[in-house]
Symmetry: D2
Subunit: 341 residues, 4 copies
């Protein structure tokens, strides 16, 4: 048997751990040939592949990125894309595919399965916003890095009696903000799921200063002030013009400085959150995902995605898996509010 593996979409710590597990189990337990397709779906479409053996994956568990490269190519948006994939797989004698990626990659995986190609999906989103699994790998690493930064920023904030706004990843879901904010002891946490009142933020910040501490505000990049959308849509640049240039973190730091008269600074963590070596947690999760994806292929159980439920790895239909975005529920946010101010 000959099985292909590919990675699609953005960088995420743990991709290599999945690849390693697939190769290792495919070869050691099943005697398969494993083939790596390069650059996401471009690989099987254009026939860019190479065999991956045990030696190729010896040294990759601890490394960020993906040895296969990635892309956002979608064969369903390319003329004859699906036919090309089928031809390449037939030509190379590849019997099944393991596709590691986010919503887009898994969406293609689902359609391909419907179209007769055997695909098993492995979920990947640093934002943890995929509903069908408790957690995705990469998320713990992002939270870990953001928390380390918050730890460091606290002493600086305290020494200078400043407000510090830390902007973390999360365009549509506030999981990284919520978890790193809780772990870092943030005094305000702002998420995309819940438009925030600047007055309320100023109130928390002021209370903090009155208690003679320095406030740390963790804000997801996708968080917006109440009415922020409208203002942006109407193009009023005075009030929110900074948003596009410097992001919500910079905008909020300015607002806090203006309204409280206190020094206020923003730090935008940016891409540091998604690179580098994965945490132990993410290595274990990614490894287990890889192993169970191989099991699904061995069982001929295609059109599924591996997922974490409690401490178990289970299989869910790709159709369900990509159905909806998992956002921070009201009660989880409420849980954190007791630490605000």
């Amino acid at each position: 048997m000959r099985v292909g593996v590919l990675t699609g979409g953005g960088d995420c710590p743990g991709l290599n751990a999945v690849i390693r597990a697939v190769v290792r189990k495919g070869i050691e337990a099943h005697g398969w040939d494993v083939v790596g397709f390069r650059h996401g779906w471009r690989g099987p479409m254009e026939g860019i592949s190479r065999p991956i053996g045990l030696d190729d994956v010896e040294d990759i568990l601890t490394r960020g990125g993906t040895i296969l490269g990635s892309s956002r190519t979608n064969p369903y948006k390319v003329d004859g894309g699906v036919e090309k994939i089928k031809a390449v797989l037939a030509d190379q004698g590849v019997d099944a595919l393991i596709a590691i990626g986010g919503e887009d990659t898994l969406g293609v995986a689902k359609k391909l399965t419907d179209d007769g190609v055997g695909v098993v999906g492995v979920p990947k989103t640093i934002d943890n916003d995929l509903g069908a699994t408790d957690y995705t790998f990469g998320f713990d690493t992002a939270v870990h890095i953001a928390t380390e930064s918050i730890d460091r920023l606290r002493t600086t904030a305290e020494s200078h009696h400043r407000a510090l706004v830390v902007e973390v990843m999360g365009r549509h879901a506030g999981w990284i903000a919520l978890h790193s904010g809780l772990a870092g002891g943030a005094n305000v946490i702002l998420v995309p799921e819940r438009p925030f009142s600047v007055d309320k933020v100023v109130e928390w910040v002021t209370r903090r200063f009155e208690r003679e501490y320095a406030p740390i505000i963790v804000v997801a990049e996708g968080a917006l002030p109440e009415g922020g959308d409208e203002v942006l849509l109407t193009g009023e640049k005075d009030a929110f013009g900074h948003v596009r240039l410097g992001g919500i973190g910079t905008w909020l730091a300015d607002e806090i400085a203006n309204r409280t008269g206190k020094e206020s600074r923003a730090v935008v963590l940016g891409h540091t959150q998604r690179g580098g070596t994965p945490t132990a947690y993410d290595r274990v999760l990614a490894t287990r995902f890889g192993l169970h994806a191989v099991d699904a292929v061995a069982d001929g159980d295609f059109g599924v995605m591996v997922a974490l439920r409690g401490t178990d790895i289970v299989r869910v239909k790709l159709a369900e898996a990509t159905a909806e975005l998992k956002t921070v529920p009201v009660e989880r946010y409420a849980e954190a509010e007791v630490f605000f101010g």
Copy 2:
């Protein structure tokens, strides 16, 4: 309302995060007075306590250890111990207790509830061997530290063509060995749940050397070779005399060296695994446990323990919680075996 909190048993990263969450939510959400009892159950027995306010917990989230101190005192093994506790609580006007600890501490919590004292438990075991919860805080930190060490040891092993045996914590359960072994890319993982064959270990090690890599063997402190118990019981010191002195890691490194003729070294990670700042994962888990313990007290729901199930914090009866040791199941160990050799 006046609520007491105490920590019992061994050190574990995240204890302070629980205390902080209890104090913060107790005061901010319920207006309680929170009282810290010192030295585990000795505190409420001997009346050693002090009020804990918001300022006392400002700075403790990131710190290992416990600001309350700990002990292994068991009031049920002290004459009149339970009566003393009741008298102290009555005297200090304490209405309920939150007890953070392992099997022993929670066992006392259960009995006290039966005896009419309102107690809510928070589980704490670095070994992750408590059945009623998916994970306990401290475990992720221990795995993280062990994994960092394995990462460092790999290059040394490779440079010197040596076998390296890493002994990690885990007397009765192999969770730390399993997870850090998977995360560190270990070539053999040995756990207390499964007596190991030295011949098999030597086979894996040899195969590894033949592939021109250096083997890393992760062994839980409680792992034993097949027949190890008997040998130890009969007092044959020649074969296993080293075990008591240097631990299983040292013993195994010697065995490997003797049987393969290759250099072999042991590193015993020891107490470094259970101290210092908790990982972000453990801080979030410990914080959520603390918040939900307060909810249980507020609900008057005593005799329960908070527990993680998937991504939810739930309550379980203390009676169930302490009933059995959660060991590494056969299938989880089997999952890892594909990486051996």
Copy 3:
């Protein structure tokens, strides 16, 4: 004898290590009373102080920030400021001062010594731009943090075939950029000492992409393109308008994207570089500075600053110490250029 200690200027990892060493040696070796003045020079001017004993410094070695607080108050810019200090010192029976700070703080220390107050200086600048000492504490920590970030950003850059611009601290001196750029394997390093040619940067970046790697560009916040000053002075905002808003990093990332057609992103490390626990190197250096400052006071050798020369701690006159900014010399920058492109 009664000796005061104070910290002035910006936050810097290692301040608490100096304070601890001063207190420990002052008390243990000399039997002094040690007094901490709060908020830099404001403390001795306004009489805000408290005794510091051994217990106060037990727990501070590993912590960022300063337990004494800081400020930028300059008694020579306050009416009667110096007289106030003399009066406070006389009143509190303080015989000598140890002042930990940068150029401004040490400038005051020098003048005060001339005016009859016994002061010993301890140099502090995260930028490492003080000429009289090989290194200052805080610098190694800043370089360590910047390097960790570069390590993480590399895999992201590679996975996405992007240029990544990392903006680090250094308004007037490029030491942090130079050292973190060397340690992180940067493909271009830009420092304030040397206006850069954007054409040349684009050439290096292009070469890097041609070799199928992703370029990492480390730029000090104070670095400017050739002609940048003039352009800024003449107020031409089109070309350099972004500089003020987003900093040189963002500006440069835009330039690279525009000129190469490749995706390009900026990460501004900002305040994360100056907070949190010091590296072992900085803890040792800060500790030794504190010990030797006590020796100078004990010798009655005022108007001096402790400094590192090779592996020795020496004393230099404060007058020399604050005379000139230590910038990156031409040959040190040239040394690094072999790694560009």
Copy 4:
């Protein structure tokens, strides 16, 4: 021109950074062919080599170990060893060698130069015990790792009111113990240069417990109690029998427990100290060593070793460089004693 490079002796973080700098500068600045010899001096003796190009060193800066492998082979202890090296170099057209290693490797380098082979040395010793240079790379990494461990152990010691003995590397020189002890806030530091009085250690430990803190004792593996040598020589095993089995750390922990009645534990950091990614400090130092070694070769200045003096890289004669062991001087140890107890 064709230049060979090799690494000899034990593992040390930074070896790959030297190799990368040599290759990069050799090729980019001088247009050399660079050849890597494998397994230390075995490589040039047996002709085991391969060309190293820019791509080979792209990814190695952050990695521990050495891509060239290492050995302790000494051509002067092999019949005709030197002649073999000359023949291989002539055969492969190699004009000069850069040898990275410790005392042994550099001793061979010196003799080879005397025997007409052009060699430039790069010093490598994790123990920092080479007299001709302020610091060697690898040392800062070892101190960093030991300090992180001490930080973690402190909270465990405090929570359990235990004495914790941390055994670090250093057979003949106590530099790692001294620096990690200072950086970690150790309460006793014991080094090979100074036989210690167990009574004195017990006194410090006791004082610490009386102040209600938990003592941390950092001991170099080569430290010995007063009279320890004699006792060992006379073979009295009762008193010091544990020394050989468990090392000085374990022995000392037992002594402390026996004499104070307090719980006492030993942690032996072992090989974790010498593997894994180098600190930023070590990467910069190693890189600069590599660059300057190339300069020396380009100048035809053989028989020298590069060395750090203050912030400069200088050249010293190999003869001087290997003449004597740099141990911890009396005054540096005395400096630290103020923190004992």
